[in-house]
């Protein structure tokens, strides 16, 4: 009898512990996944920002002051193009191993924010965008790469000296770069989102509220870059 009780007790306690273990594992896996995704997202934003800063700080290098107004070629919220000498001497040369020539011909860098992907949540569509970076270095080097995925289309704002947005290109003294990234769960786990937004059964108001809440948890990073060559 005592053996039977032992077995039953053991099964009961073992089962109980097993349930705890599975729940804990599930929670831990989810948290790990989230932390890991957060870290990756953070790292990606940081890398993207670093690349953009690296380029934008060169804006207008080698362009004579009297041609300052030509430095910014395109200044739109999702499209930025500017001139700079990127290979005028060995010290002031862009850090791209494929650029091997030195000359005194003006070069250009172009950033475009283009649509990358969209996720349909029936009553909400989430669109992600890719930042494309094009570098043109004389005599014939052209590199075109995507430097990352963001959640906002309007990545660039053009400001005057005290941070007021300006509409005329030759009044720009500062470029503000805003990069946002959705919570990775928003982009990667539609099931999770569905389960969240339908937690109380189908309820349009709840879905909207819940989606807004989830989207608010997105990450963002903003950098204001002042090109000293624009401020001369």
């Amino acid at each position: 009898m005592s053996i039977v009780l032992d077995i039953v007790g053991g099964l009961f306690i073992g089962g109980f512990l097993m349930i705890i273990a599975l729940t804990a594992t599930d929670t831990a896996t989810t948290e790990f996944y989230n932390y890991n995704s957060d870290a990756i997202i953070q790292q990606n934003l940081s890398s993207m920002s670093e690349v953009i800063q690296y380029d934008l700080r060169k804006m207008g290098f080698g362009i004579p002051e009297q041609f300052k107004s030509t430095i910014l070629q395109t200044a739109q919220p999702s499209h930025l193009k500017f001139l700079a000498h990127l290979n005028s001497n060995p010290i002031c040369k862009i850090g791209d191993p494929n650029v091997t020539t030195i000359d005194n011909i003006v070069d250009s860098i172009e950033y475009r924010v283009v649509q990358f992907d969209s996720i349909d949540y029936v009553d909400t569509m989430i669109v992600t965008y890719q930042i494309r970076r094009d570098i043109f270095v004389s005599p014939g080097y052209h590199s075109s790469i995507g430097i990352g995925i963001i959640g906002n289309q309007n990545a660039f704002r053009y400001l005057d000296q005290i941070g007021r947005p300006v509409a005329v290109i030759n009044q720009v003294q500062m470029v503000e770069v805003t990069l946002t990234a959705y919570d990775p769960r928003i982009v990667l786990s539609t099931d999770w989102i569905d389960s969240k937004v339908n937690e109380v059964g189908y309820n349009e108001e709840f879905r909207k509220r819940e989606l807004r809440r989830l989207l608010r948890a997105s990450y963002w990073r903003q950098t204001r870059l002042i090109s000293k060559n624009l401020k001369r």
């Binding site: 932390y35 010290i91 001369r232």
Partner: protein, 413 residues
């Protein structure tokens, strides 16, 4: 049996959770690493900027164009090298490095940043559309639209909505402050306070050019004058010259100013249509007796090669005469070293229309050209219509004086 099983289960849990803990910790560490990397890179950048500021300040103070030293701040090191790369261009190169602990490799990694600034000293005064040591409290007001750079060693005062398209610099700042809500002026080219630039007083280069051009000829016959002289320029490149006490004669500008410089110790009177490239300098006054324009109007031809500089130690006057009382058109780079560019009898002469000036104006004190009252219009003298000659961004009249002021030509980082 139950006890053993329980112990095994507990150990199993400990093992499993320990593994998760390690993995979780690695994520937390990765986040911290991201932060640390950002921090170190920001520190390196800030240190490079500090080193660059220090180096620029040192070059500005010592005018030393060859230097090399180590700069340490924020636990980062910077190697600063200063060297000449052109006739008037100095390069400052800053190489900054710091160390970042790489958790994957378990070692310190060297992070470097390179920064270069190219600086120049000399700049023709004519590059400024408007330069004054003292604005004498005159306001820039609604309706004033200014192209080209503006500088004063006092305060820029604005009332209403003047528009500046070039950069505006002022030693004593701006009133109202461009960042205040009271400010309505538009500084589209940017602005900067605390900038002091002295009006050049050393005319030796201009004088030497005139002496060289004169080539030993008697005074008042070629490039050097010590009598009042009138130049009535002709569009064919000649000039009807009237030296006080002598009859007029017609000569080519290139003959009397082969090096592009004419100097005098007495007043000079000018008018006409100028064809050539010359700077006229006197230690007295210059009088503009009538329209003084280029043969090839730069408003119509941006590639016009006619360039005239008028430099007076004293005043540059718009003469109070009949010819100037119905508008006056002036195309030149104008500079009054110790006085002003002004209208003779500005407060008693009749209402004389507008001064249509294309060029640049540099003066010690901002000179009046008329009187007016707010809302009451003009009472005497001229209204102003001043335009920067865009060619002066890249060109200047031959021998026109230079400002000596350290300025940024280009910045690399």
């Amino acid at each position: 049996m139950l006890g053993k099983g329980a112990i095994l289960v507990v150990f199993g849990f400990i093992l499993a959770f320990s593994m998760y803990q390690v993995r979780m910790s690695s994520n937390v560490m990765a986040t911290a690493d991201n932060f640390n990397t950002e921090f170190v890179e920001t520190m390196i950048h800030e240190t490079a900027l500090s080193a660059m500021n220090f180096a620029i300040n040192k070059v500005w103070q010592t005018e030393n164009t060859s230097d090399s030293y180590l700069f340490r701040a924020n636990s980062c090191s910077s190697q600063v090298d200063v060297f000449i790369v052109g006739a008037d261009t100095t390069q400052i190169r800053v190489r900054t490095w710091g160390y970042l602990f790489d958790t994957e490799m378990q070692e310190f990694r060297k992070e470097e940043r390179d920064m270069s600034a190219f600086l120049a000293y000399n700049m023709p005064v004519s590059k400024y559309f408007w330069f004054s040591d003292d604005e004498k409290g005159v306001f820039w007001i609604t309706g004033d639209t200014v192209w080209g750079p503006v500088h004063t060693n006092k305060t820029i005062k604005t009332d209403g909505n003047p528009v500046f398209y070039g950069k505006v610099t002022a030693k004593l700042g701006f009133s109202p402050d461009p960042t205040s809500k009271k400010n309505e002026a538009d500084y589209f080219g940017g602005w900067e306070a605390g900038v002091e630039i002295e009006i050049p007083t050393d005319m030796s280069s201009l004088t030497n050019a005139a002496i060289a051009g004169n080539g030993g000829a008697p005074k008042n016959t070629k490039s050097i004058y010590d009598k009042v002289v009138t130049f009535d320029f002709q569009s064919d490149g000649s000039v009807i010259r009237t030296v006080s006490g002598s009859p007029p004669d017609t000569v080519l500008v290139t003959d009397i100013a082969p090096t592009g410089a004419i100097i005098s110790s007495k007043d000079i009177r000018v008018k006409g249509t100028f064809n050539g490239n010359t700077t006229i300098y006197t230690t007295g006054n210059i009088w503009i007796d009538d329209d003084l324009v280029y043969a090839d109007n730069p408003k119509n031809n941006p590639n016009s090669d006619d360039l005239l500089g008028l430099v007076a130690k004293d005043y540059i006057y718009i003469t109070d005469n009949a010819a100037n009382n119905t508008d006056v058109h002036i195309q030149a780079a104008i500079m009054s070293i110790e006085r002003s560019f002004t209208a003779q009898n500005y407060n008693s002469r009749p209402i004389a229309g507008i001064i249509d000036l294309t060029g640049s104006v540099c003066q010690y004190h901002r000179g009046p050209v008329g009187t007016f009252s707010f809302g009451g219009g003009i009472h005497s003298g001229f209204l102003k219509r001043y335009r920067f000659d865009p060619r002066f961004s890249t060109l200047s009249p031959t021998n026109f004086p230079y400002l000596k002021s350290l300025r940024l030509v280009s910045w690399w980082e």
